[in-house]
């Protein structure tokens, strides 16, 4: 399980890292001299599932005589590109293969980026030349490219296909050609906005990776627990043998040597079986998980061969250490007991009154554990994240705090068990004990027991904390994300321009067309101009406090019958008495006010009222732009965040007008009707816009969200199963240790049914305590993920989950606990089962 979970996690993380590193943005350098009336239009498609076929690429190529250039892009794992005997395989980079045919590049096969020249001798097919990356990419992609002639290669398919129409062809004609190409692809191809997709993928993979990292960490912990419990169970079962050996004169050292040798043999056999089983399980897990990753990110993610040595060595090494160390520790405590006491039921002979058992041994350590965990959790929100090399915020202390929750679960397990038992004991006082004998015996026994089932309780609590915490966080995120989408897209229609203008990289509707659209159609629009370093040439990016920022300029449309599209959130320095729409109106009519999205405000530690200088916005000859932060707005579109400024101000400074995207308030007219109306009245503008329904856009966004977290959910459930197995082994261990007690009750007149009831009551106490503690720890985990880890890593705030989310989480937890209770009873029964073992005990 450890190997399977660890390896599957690594595989997904590697694939996501690969997905992040492989830009799918357009490789085609934009035409440099054209007007809005000429072409240069391009489109990119990817498959809805898997890859686009080579037949699709061939279909694109049939339009070559019409002035179309086609590129097929495929991100490849190293093994597909490099020679088998490449000695430095581990150091070889991932490359993007670009299938080319009829392109402006005279390609024989293959040509490589200059950065790949040092690796020239390791290619399967020796490169014939190098090419200048910026000629292909305009400097907008950092990938290493290999150009291969499509006809002479053996592509199985392409991650995406990009088609660009000759600039000499008019825009309308170009669009018609591209429509024909698209029609030929059928339903399998999905047209993508390259920039948007790249951004969305980067955001999603970041949160994904974060969740998976936490999951991986917790899985390792739970796996460790499972191994520890298994070792403890085996030691418990060997106690009679150890007792006999000690009584017959075997020294501690002899016994240690004997039992540990046996444990080593078992461990080696277990490792061999574990490697085979783990790899099979890993394949099954990865198969499910990678399906989603491929749909969302890189179609051939995880297809390549990868070295399993590290996961195998890591998992078996860690497993061996935990198993043998646990065995050693348990065995040492066994042989330390005097032979006479070892043969007795209890190891300890200290006389005590029953009530003395209420405070279990080691309470000081437990109290210290609780205090330490609470202290770590309390200060976690105040400890700033660590900034990594890639300028990413890593909530390192947040991870420590997640570990503190595990410590808390273990430290509080005994107390939780005691409180649960006390509460259950209320239902079976002396007067009613005869009605519920199993519960009466179990509660009393648990209250007096020297060793409460704290390991089982803690194991269940840890597993539940993981499941509950992540599911609550996702629920809160879903609520916040949905609310933000609803607020941001109250306009009925969204229109995305299709034409790039004058050497720009992002399609834009020019200002005149925009004004004409508004006036003719009598609609309000939220018109946005964006600068993410992609509008103008690279290297000319805006910056704030020396950090590159993306700028969004928004116009002054605040239609009276619609909610405001932006929501200012409480932030240090904000005048709470001023309503949201007043802040927005003041901002939109001002030339020196900024709104910062939450992520940016957190990253740059901006406060409302701060004077900041925006660098880079000076193309119209003005100086750097100084303005004041008017407020901070909620924004889940990017973890990097935007700096918003009024469009008037932006237009004045940059000379850039019009819109990169529009939200159109149509007063109830739906998207198809509006598109039809625009086509009738402004056909030329209609042909330059992709008019969509806001609802469709929202559905797509929420669909992507759900798809992303589906994988997290799957891995969370697997981790929960792992925790469940650990719990069951723990319960079995406890049951095995009490065989003499079961025997006594059996002799006294307990039927097997009654003994099963006793087992059920015993397991119930552990499960209820674990459930209660797990829900508390899960709540804390959710709080930690929402308030500390997500906020620090991504900069955005997520609402805490609502009552219905809590109810769902509790229901799931109860179902999970019920399943574990049943499994625990069956496992205990198996451990206590009648048969030879009973006969041996009896004799």
């Amino acid at each position: 399980m450890l190997l399977a979970m660890g390896s599957a996690n690594l595989r997904v993380l590697d694939s996501l890292k690969e997905a992040d590193g492989s830009s799918k943005r357009s490789l085609w350098n934009s035409p440099t001299s054209q007007s809005g009336e000429t072409g240069g239009t391009r489109r990119i498609w990817r498959a809805r599932r898997g890859q686009l076929t080579t037949a699709a690429f061939d279909h694109c190529l049939t339009f070559m005589p019409s002035g179309v250039r086609c590129l097929g892009l495929t991100v490849r794992q190293t093994r597909d590109v490099w020679r088998e005997d490449a000695k430095k395989r581990n150091a070889l980079p991932t490359v993007t293969l670009v299938a080319v045919a009829g392109s402006p590049f005279e390609v024989i096969s293959p040509m490589i980026s200059p950065a790949l020249v040092p690796f020239k001798s390791y290619f399967r097919h020796a490169p014939v030349a190098t090419f200048n990356d910026p000629d292909l990419t305009g400097g907008r992609s950092q990938d290493h490219h290999v150009l291969i002639d499509h006809d002479s290669s053996s592509f199985g398919g392409h991650d995406s296909i990009e088609a660009s129409v000759d600039r000499e062809i008019s825009f309308d004609a170009a669009e018609k050609i591209l429509d024909q190409i698209e029609d030929g692809f059928g339903d399998e191809a999905l047209r993508v906005d390259p920039d948007a997709e790249f951004e969305a993928r980067k955001n999603l993979t970041a949160s994904y990776r974060l969740n998976l990292s936490i999951l991986g960490l917790m899985s390792v912990l739970v796996s460790g627990l499972l191994l520890r419990n298994t070792a403890a169970l085996q030691m418990m079962l060997r106690r009679p043998v150890v007792a006999v050996l000690r009584q017959t004169g075997a020294s501690r050292r002899t016994i240690m040597g004997l039992v540990l040798s046996e444990q080593i043999l078992i461990a080696v056999a277990g490792c061999a079986a574990g490697i085979v089983g783990g790899l099979l399980l890993e394949q099954a897990i990865s198969h499910q998980v990678m399906k989603t990753v491929r749909v969302l990110y890189t179609p051939d993610a995880g297809n390549g061969q990868r070295s399993l040595l590290i996961p195998i060595v890591g998992a078996t090494g860690a497993g061996l250490v935990v198993y043998l160390a646990s065995s050693f520790a348990m065995l040492r405590s066994l042989v330390a007991v005097q032979p006479r006491d070892l043969a007795a039921r209890e190891f300890e002979g200290r006389e005590r009154q029953a009530d003395a058992g209420r405070v279990a041994k080691g309470w000081r350590m437990r109290l210290a554990g609780i205090a330490l965990s609470v202290a770590i959790l309390l200060i976690a929100p105040t400890v700033p994240p660590v900034t990594s090399q890639g300028n990413l915020q890593v909530p390192l202390f947040g991870y420590f705090a997640a570990m503190a929750i595990v410590i808390l679960a273990f430290s509080a397990a005994s107390g939780a068990s005691y409180i649960t038992t006390r509460l259950l004991r209320i239902f079976v006082p002396e007067a009613r004990a005869h009605r519920f004998p199993a519960l009466a015996i179990s509660t009393r026994r648990n209250l007096h027991a020297r060793r409460r089932p704290e390991a089982a309780v803690a194991t269940l609590a840890t597993g539940l904390a993981l499941v509950t915490g992540i599911s609550l966080m996702v629920a809160g995120f879903r609520n916040s994300f949905t609310a933000w989408l609803a607020q941001s897209f109250t306009a009925e229609v969204v229109a995305l321009p299709l034409i790039t203008q004058d050497g720009e990289f992002r399609p834009r509707l020019d200002g005149d067309s925009h004004n004409l659209l508004r006036k003719t159609m009598q609609v309000d629009t939220d018109c946005v101009l964006l600068d993410e370093g992609t509008v103008r040439a690279p290297g000319n990016q805006s910056s704030l406090k020396g950090v590159p920022v993306r700028v969004a300029a928004i116009d002054d449309a605040l239609p009276p019958d619609y909610p405001t599209p932006l929501e200012t959130i409480p932030w240090p320095g904000t005048r709470t008495s001023v309503p949201n729409n007043e802040i927005l109106r003041e901002f939109m009519n001002s030339e020196d006010l900024f709104l910062a999205s939450e992520a940016l405000a957190r990253k740059l530690k901006l406060k409302t009222g701060d004077q900041v200088q925006l660098g880079g916005i000076k193309s119209a000859g003005t100086h750097n732009f100084t303005g004041r932060i008017a407020g901070v707005v909620r924004d889940y579109s990017s973890e990097l965040g935007y700096l918003f400024l009024s469009k008037k101000s932006y237009e004045t400074r940059t000379g850039l007008n019009g819109c990169h995207s529009l939200r159109v308030y149509t007063a109830g007219v739906n998207a198809p009707a509006f598109a039809s109306a625009v086509s009738n009245r402004l056909p030329e503008i209609a042909s330059r816009l992709n008019i969509q329904s806001s609802d469709d856009l929202k559905k797509m966004a929420t669909g992507t969200f759900e798809q992303t977290f589906k994988v997290t959910g799957l891995l969370t459930i697997l981790a929960a199963i792992l925790g469940g197995v650990a719990l069951i082994v723990q319960i079995a261990q406890s049951s095995a240790g009490r065989r003499l007690e079961w025997l006594a009750l059996r002799r006294l007149g307990s039927s097997w049914t009654r003994l099963t009831q006793l087992l059920a009551a015993d397991v119930l106490i552990s499960v209820l305590a674990g459930l209660a503690l797990g829900l508390v720890c899960g709540g804390i985990m959710a709080w930690l993920l929402v308030v500390v880890i997500n906020r620090q890593a991504f900069g955005w705030s997520i609402a805490m989950p609502g009552i219905s989310d809590l109810a769902t989480a509790v229901l799931f937890a109860v179902a999970y606990a019920a399943a574990l209770w049943l499994a625990g009873v069956i496992m205990s029964w198996w451990t206590m089962r009648p048969g030879k073992a009973w006969e041996v005990l009896r004799e």
Binding site: R345, E346, G349, R350, E351, R352, Q353, A354, D355, G357, E430, A431, A433, H434, R435, P437, A440, I441, R444, R445, N446, H448, A449, R450, L740, E741, L743, A744, L745, R747, L748, G749, S750, S751, W752, T753, R754, E839, R842, E843
Partner: protein, 216 residues
């Protein structure tokens, strides 16, 4: 009345007991003797419904045990017989009082606490009622075991080497308690023992040799 006819017990190919036939007089006290391996414990296990015979008939108070399912056999064991074992067989994480109460709870009998306290008092354990049995001395534990065995006023009390783990003084005390309590209840008592002193306490003796009854 306990009647056994041709009881035989085998474990695989090992013949452990029988055939044994018995008819025990109600209220009578018996010593069950024999060498190790003669089948004493096996016979007690069969009479106490801890085990089922391979063949033969056993009737306890007119109820034939053959054919009874596990629940019914357990009920006979719980209500009709009281067993005192050499190693006490107490639940170490329950108090002395709770151990004596367990039979009442298992049998679904209400108000057992008064009788349990009374029994512990008579056995000199009032002060130890709330101590865990794991913390009591051997003699005390065996007294708790006696109290538990007679708690539901069984008609048959079986004791398997009840003094085997005790010193002679404590052993005598425990034997006094067992016989007195059995007498009070009018219960049939069978004590399996190796000890001549213990056996000498009983007028009636049952002796086993190689699994067969040689004296009744």
């Amino acid at each position: 009345m306990i009647v056994a006819k041709d009881l035989i017990k085998t474990y695989g190919r090992t013949h452990a007991l029988g055939p044994v036939s018995l008819e025990l007089t109600p209220g009578a006290h018996y010593a069950l003797t024999g060498r190790s391996g003669s089948g004493k414990s096996t016979l007690l296990a069969l009479l106490g419904c801890l085990d089922t015979p391979s063949s033969g008939i056993l009737e306890i108070n007119g109820v034939a045990t053959a054919g009874l399912d596990d629940s019914a056999l357990s009920a006979v064991r719980l209500r009709s017989t009281g067993f005192v074992h050499q190693f006490f067989d107490l639940v170490s994480d329950l108090t002395a009082l709770e151990n004596v109460l367990v039979p009442f709870w298992l049998a679904g009998v209400a108000g057992g606490e008064v009788r349990a306290r009374e029994l512990l008092g008579r056995l000199g354990l009032s002060e130890r009622a709330h101590h865990l049995t794991g913390d009591l001395s051997g003699g005390e534990q065996q007294r708790v075991a006696v109290a538990r065995a007679v708690a539901l006023r069984p008609s048959l009390i079986l004791a398997d080497e009840p003094t085997g783990s005790l010193d002679s003084r404590t052993g005598n005390l425990v034997m006094d308690l067992i016989t007195e309590t059995a007498q009070e209840l009018g219960a049939t008592l069978i004590v399996a023992t190796h000890s001549p002193d213990v056996a000498a306490r009983f007028a009636k003796k049952l002796t086993l040799l190689d699994g067969r009854m040689v004296t009744t």
